[in-house]
């Protein structure tokens, strides 16, 4: 227990410190000796986050992109995963291998040519690259793989029963298999949402207008005219980015742990 408590310090303290420092008046932030307590808590930094940048807009951008990407990925991956697991069609194995190459290629590699392609298509400084590449590209491939592993284990009798009830393939997929796949779907949803929510390289490369920024990118732009970090504003914005996800995590931690452990299995 004592060993665990000591080990836990670097895991817990940064987040606690972030919240504590975000409500301190600026002069107290670097006061020595360091303390998590303040006599004069203030929400000034939170207000400043919204006036210094279009932070509310950036928040909405991150949320709507992550939700949209998650919905598309759920649909695309559950269809592909189902077909690869349950339907026999010529070339299925070869095509599955083609899809799996998506797990071999890091997005940090494809972004170099993709930037040129999106530039030519006039989609630079729009949200399209962030949505399309995440929803159909590598993160979606991992999702398809997870869905396939799930559907492969389903007993064939369930589908037989559906067929006897007069359902076609799409009906069997939608009415019988998807409702059973809730654990796999929630794993995919959590993985995909966080993958989109955390994107940093892509927005940095594709977006130039602050009102289009997503949260991670916005967080790094709280610097004053001299390029110095506006620490308390930055920490307030970081707190607003992190806390909602952390709270959902604490409530649904089992689903999160199981879902994200998939990302470590690849």
């Amino acid at each position: 227990m004592a060993a665990l408590a000591v080990l836990a310090i670097p895991f817990a303290v940064p987040t606690i410190w972030m919240v504590a420092a975000s409500i301190k008046p600026l002069p107290e932030i670097f006061k020595a000796p360091p303390s998590l307590w303040t006599e004069h808590p203030t929400l000034a930094a939170y207000g400043e986050a919204f006036t210094f940048q279009p932070f509310a807009r950036q928040y909405v951008n991150s949320v709507y992109i992550a939700v949209l990407v998650t919905l598309i990925t759920l649909l695309v991956s559950s269809m592909a995963g189902y077909a690869f697991a349950r339907i026999r069609f010529p070339g299925a194995n070869a095509l599955f291998l083609v899809v799996l190459t998506g797990l071999l290629v890091p997005s940090e590699v494809t972004i170099v040519p993709l930037f040129q392609v999106f530039k030519r298509a006039g989609l630079i400084n729009t949200h399209w690259p962030l949505i399309l590449v995440t929803a159909f590209g590598a993160p979606c491939v991992l999702a398809s793989f997870i869905m396939r592993q799930f559907f492969i284990a389903l007993p064939a009798e369930l589908e037989e029963a559906g067929r006897l009830d007069g359902l076609g393939r799409p009906g069997i997929w939608w009415r019988i298999c998807l409702p059973l796949a809730r654990p796999a779907l929630s794993a995919v949803a959590i993985l995909t949402f966080l993958a989109s929510w955390n994107l940093y390289l892509e927005p940095t490369v594709y977006l130039t207008s602050p009102e289009l920024f997503t949260l991670p990118q916005a967080l790094t732009r709280f610097t004053d005219a001299y390029g110095a970090d506006m620490w308390n504003t930055q920490l307030a914005a970081a707190t607003m980015t992190v806390l909602p996800v952390l709270i959902v995590f604490v409530i649904a931690q089992r689903q999160f742990v199981e879902g994200l452990a998939h990302s470590g299995l690849k």
Partner: protein, 295 residues
């Protein structure tokens, strides 16, 4: 006989169901890789936008790039440091948590929590704490130690990016190790205890050999993840001071997007791709051999 038999309909549904995913892989993975190869064989004039075929020139340039040796060294140090620290810490936490005690779930949740924290937010906070007059040096000062200006010296900057990266991501490995530990049959432990084995030798002789496939597979994935760590380095050190934390993925970004060297940037990206591909294929091959740790 009607044409649309159940079988034919099934085949059509199969193709339609995989079509969006297949199109996604073609458009956003395979074609870009092909384009990257093509770009690596061409040189762009940034001002006129014209491109000239230069063959293997960019590949030859790899050998004469004065910065590349330092970049590769930083990549090896960073990935090596991350994997060693991550696996050691992940195993240690998993072993400590793999006993029935009150609060185990609390600690598991706590150790896992940084995984769900945005990388940029997490790294910003570490950057804040690692300032010369920041929280970490403040705490060190309180116990009479004079801490360095962490992010301004090559070695401590590298240490900082490694540690902040490991603490953020070790939760995933911890969970995988916990699952592996729970897969070790308890009879083995009982038998060893009856034979009078001490807990340290039980761990070395029974636990470790049985979970070693998981450890090796996890280690490879951890290296692959480290090779792709962009945000951590961009936010914490910006590759500096000098080139000390400029790892390959960051160098690719600089060449392609800051210096607009599309051809050379693509060449470097393909180098990164080859490292990741070799490691991932190795991992798949090994996993096929030792599937027993999965359902």
């Amino acid at each position: 006989m009607r044409y649309w038999t159940t079988r034919r309909r099934d085949v059509l549904t199969g193709y339609l169901f995989i079509a969006p995913q297949l199109a996604g892989v073609l458009l956003f993975v395979l074609i870009p890789v092909g384009l990257a190869i093509w770009y690596s064989l061409n040189k762009w004039n940034v001002f006129t936008g014209k491109q000239v075929f230069v063959g293997a020139d960019h590949y030859a340039a790899l050998a004469s790039d004065p910065q590349l040796p330092s970049v590769l060294l930083a990549t090896v140090v960073f990935s090596g440091g991350v994997v060693v620290l991550n696996i050691t810490l992940g195993l240690l936490i998993a072993v400590l948590l793999n006993r029935q005690f009150r609060g185990a779930t609390f600690f598991r949740t706590l150790f896992f929590s940084p995984v769900v924290v945005s990388v940029v937010a997490w790294t910003l906070v570490w950057g804040f704490l690692l300032q010369d007059n920041g929280g970490i040096n403040g705490l060190l000062h309180a116990i009479g130690v004079d801490g360095p200006n962490w992010l301004q010296h090559g070695d401590t900057a590298m240490l900082s990016v490694i540690v902040s990266q490991v603490v953020r991501s070790v939760g995933v490995n911890m969970v995988l190790f916990l699952a592996a530990l729970q897969g070790v049959p308890s009879e083995l432990y009982e038998a060893a205890r009856i034979d009078g084995a001490r807990s340290r030798s039980i761990f070395a002789r029974i636990t470790l050999p049985l979970i070693s496939p998981t450890v090796l597979l996890t280690a490879i994935i951890t290296v692959v993840g480290a090779l792709q760590s962009f945000a951590q380095i961009a936010v914490l050190t910006g590759g500096g001071p000098e080139l000390s934390t400029t790892v390959l993925v960051y160098y690719v970004f600089q060449q392609a997007f800051e210096f607009n060297n599309i051809g050379y940037g693509s060449t470097l990206a393909l180098m990164l791709l080859s490292f990741v591909m070799v490691l991932t294929l190795l991992q798949w091959q090994l996993r096929r051999k030792w599937v027993f740790h999965e359902q």
